[in-house]
């Protein structure tokens, strides 16, 4: 539990008033926007560096006085952080520091493996499991012939019994005889490895979006809350072995991406000399 002294060290004294005055006389709205962003940044730093998980943040009244802004401006800043998953609001009790998000690295491991690595208990609820002819975009992603069938799985993935991800997966039917017999395997990657089709590379496409009503219900969040949509093609050497579309809760996941400088380009001699 952070002491009051520690909290105070983060409180801006006059910096938050150093907003440049409006140039055209109509800058009132601009000033408000800046204030709300500043308060949001202040609260974010407070939540991540001063307070502990479960601690209450200062009351709306305290913040109103401290920053000299309208209650609406405070509420706007807090709302943004609740949606982001930094803070959590408990009806009738107040607003508290939320549990840290799960860092999500784009690599070729399964949900089970990723959760176990973080000390979280993975589980799944099957919504559908069958053999079907997939839509055309899936046919392309899996490099199938038209009319070719796939195994299809629709699952909710849980970490410590909390719904985290909604996942649809398609796998080529002819390549995997008896794959769902007697029941679909709990870990698809493990089952693929067992058949000598070790997933060894893939590509993820990541989009920001809002949850649909159905997705929100399965994920236990409000409709239109932010999600990450991740479509993955999984290959085993030259063969496409799985295609999945996952919906990750944006309030529980942070995407973690290692970045390196690229290999140099190769250019024509003429271009080199220009």
């Amino acid at each position: 539990m952070a002491g009051n002294g520690a909290v105070k060290s983060l409180i801006p004294t006059d910096e938050h008033r150093n907003v440049p005055p409006a140039q055209d006389g109509s800058g009132g709205a601009y000033l408000d926007v800046v204030k709300h962003v500043q308060i949001r940044n202040y609260l974010r730093a407070l939540a991540t560096h001063e307070l502990e998980v479960g601690d209450a943040i200062p009351s709306e009244r305290e913040l109103t006085e401290r920053f000299g802004v309208a209650r609406m401006t405070i509420r706007q800043a807090v709302d943004a952080l609740v949606v982001e998953g930094v803070l959590t609001r408990v009806q009738g009790k107040g607003t508290f520091v939320a549990a840290p998000k799960v860092d999500l690295q784009m690599r070729l491991t399964s949900f089970e493996e990723e959760m176990e690595r973080r000390g979280l208990k993975p589980s799944s609820r099957m919504l559908a499991a069958d053999v079907r002819v997939p839509p055309k975009d899936v046919v392309d992603a899996l490099e199938l012939g038209s009319g070719e069938k796939t195994y299809y799985l629709y699952r909710i993935r849980f970490a410590d019994d909390e719904p985290m991800v909604l996942e649809e997966t398609w796998l080529p039917f002819t390549m995997l005889p008896g794959f769902f017999d007697p029941v679909p395997p709990a870990s698809l990657y493990q089952a693929l490895r067992g058949r000598g089709l070790d997933p060894d590379w893939g590509e993820d496409m990541i989009d920001a979006d809002e949850a649909s009503e159905e997705e929100a219900e399965y994920l236990g969040i409000e409709p239109l809350r932010a999600v990450l949509r991740i479509a993955r093609r999984t290959f085993s050497s030259k063969t496409a072995v799985a295609y999945s579309r996952c919906v990750y809760r944006a309030d529980r996941y942070t995407l973690w991406v290692p970045v390196l400088a690229p290999s140099p380009s190769l250019v024509t001699a003429e271009r080199k000399n220009t």
Binding site: D200, S237, K238, P262, P264, S265, L266, V267, T268
Partner: protein, 84 residues
């Protein structure tokens, strides 16, 4: 992946201005992107083609680095050391 065949499918060395490996993709700058032979690229084992303007990305898998340098060799491209 055969570099000469790949080069031909990209429209030959006259068409290739620049090539850069990006982990699982080749990013190529072409003089004329219309000269790409998508069918041949697929037959050679490419898993997707994305074209915009003069830039074409071809999904080739984790061998992109090796494929790019092989391609650079047959197309007689050089590393722009002066850019480093």
């Amino acid at each position: 992946m055969n570099a000469s065949e790949l080069l031909a499918a990209l429209g030959g060395s006259e068409n290739l201005v620049e090539i850069e490996p990006c982990v699982t993709r080749l990013r190529a700058v072409l003089n004329d992107p219309a000269l790409i032979d998508a069918e041949s690229l697929k037959k050679l084992g490419c898993h997707g083609i994305l074209a915009r303007g003069q830039v074409v990305q071809v999904v080739v898998g984790p061998q992109a680095d090796v494929i790019a340098s092989d391609l650079g060799e047959v197309a007689n491209l050089t590393t722009p050391l002066d850019h480093l």
